[in-house]
């Protein structure tokens, strides 16, 4: 299963490297949303709860873009049939897709978080960088797990572009609750993040639960 998953992941990353479709679009989108928030909120610099909210809402909306493109090559060019014909464990497909999405999200954040710090953030990001990275990674794992499952659910539908955001956003509400609550004290001036461990624990629990659920049910989406 590991070899099959690595092969599919390698294929996806190679396609992404050559077409440069998903990650640049997600990054560009997030910077555009920061500009929108600047004018929408009419604020030059943000901190605390608003900063955490803007950052996380932007990242989640960019995630929607990545999720709706996740199975696009398979769908448009018949790659799905090839995957189904291959004598591999179906779960390998999910592992590969979730890993690809996780990589996309990390790359997105490499661009979006510094852009956020430059454009909107009023406090010093470098001082809290390790804690913020921990929150980002913990949230990304859950987003990748749920995102790969939702992408596979939506790939068969006629209204794929509508189903992905409508399905994904409610499912990741717990992520934004925990991630925004954990990030808020990090981005507030002179506030100690005393609840950080608890929220990280919650994000870890969310990750584990949805990884298990996805592994349990993903096979059934790719039958026939």
């Amino acid at each position: 299963m590991t070899r099959a998953a690595l092969a599919i992941l390698g294929k996806d990353l190679r396609i992404e490297l050559r077409t440069r479709e998903s990650v640049p679009a997600m990054a560009l989108f997030s910077v555009t949303v920061f500009v929108l928030f600047h004018y929408g909120l009419d604020r030059d610099s943000l901190d605390g709860a608003i900063a955490a909210g803007v950052l996380w809402v932007t990242l989640l909306l960019a995630t929607v873009l990545g999720v709706s493109r996740l199975f696009v090559t398979e769908r448009e060019q018949g790659g799905l049939d090839g995957l189904l014909l291959a004598p591999i464990d179906r779960t390998a497909v999910w592992v590969a897709k979730a890993a690809a999405l996780l990589l996309y999200l990390l790359l997105l954040e490499v661009v979006a978080v510094p852009a956020f710090a430059v454009l909107l953030l009023g406090t010093d990001l470098l001082a809290v960088l390790p804690e913020l990275v921990a929150v980002l990674v913990a949230a990304d794992v859950g987003l990748a797990a749920v995102g790969a499952l939702v992408a596979a659910l939506a790939v068969e539908t006629r209204a794929r572009d509508l189903i992905v955001p409508l399905l994904l956003l409610p499912l990741v509400v717990p992520v934004i609750i925990a991630a925004a609550a954990a990030t808020e004290p990090l981005l507030a001036p002179a506030q100690r993040p005393d609840e950080l461990g608890r929220w990280l624990l919650f994000l870890g629990l969310y990750d584990v639960v949805f990884i298990l659920v996805s592994v349990a049910v993903f096979d059934f989406l790719l039958e026939d």
Partner: protein, 250 residues
Amino acid sequence: MFGKGFAPLSILTAVAVAAAAAMVFFYAPLDADQGFIQKIFYVHVPMAIVGLLGFVAGGIFGFQHLRSGDRAHDLRSYVAIHLSIVLAVGVLATGAIWAKASWGHWWVWSEPMLTSYLIIFLLYCCYQPLRFSIEDPDRQARAASVFAVTAGVFVPVNFMAVRAVESVTHPRVLSTAGSGMPAEMAVTFLVSLVAMALLFATLWKLELSGKQAAIELRRLRARLELDAERSEPLADARPAPGAAAVPAGQ
């Protein structure tokens, strides 16, 4: 197949609903703080509990469908979720009315039950769009079951998350169904809960047998048409002039 035991169940439901209504108005005491409006509690909370159990049951039936491949489980899951969505609309409406009457606002974000319910409702609103935008019946049933299982797991996780953020930012001052309820209220509440659960079960069985009958009817019709075609193969081999101009059903 689904209609078995329907008559006794519906009679029991009618009795329980009538008993619950009678107890709510004539037996349960008026609430000291909230007065008459507190009676909405006997509708709102049972609806919320039964709706949640319906969502979870939909997930369990969905899981059974995935495991066994038996489409009857998918039908059970579909009807349970469908009814729970209807109940969820009722929960949000009665919750908003109660919030307006006792706290002065239509919507109170610090009430975790109401907030979680909204999120769950928004998620389950996608069930039918997802289901009916897949044409292949087997794929449709499987995707719907996968959704039902995932969302069924999501329900408790979501409650935990919403409750966790509340306990951090706001202390919980407004307790709805506290343990300090007088015995008459508790009994009335339990009867209302049982009545609501029975009502759900009756409607579930009713819709299941209706759907089952519709499926059976469609199957028989298809067979009838097939038989008719076989018995007179020349009758519609050549359509009458003008009849082919407008294709039927478009």
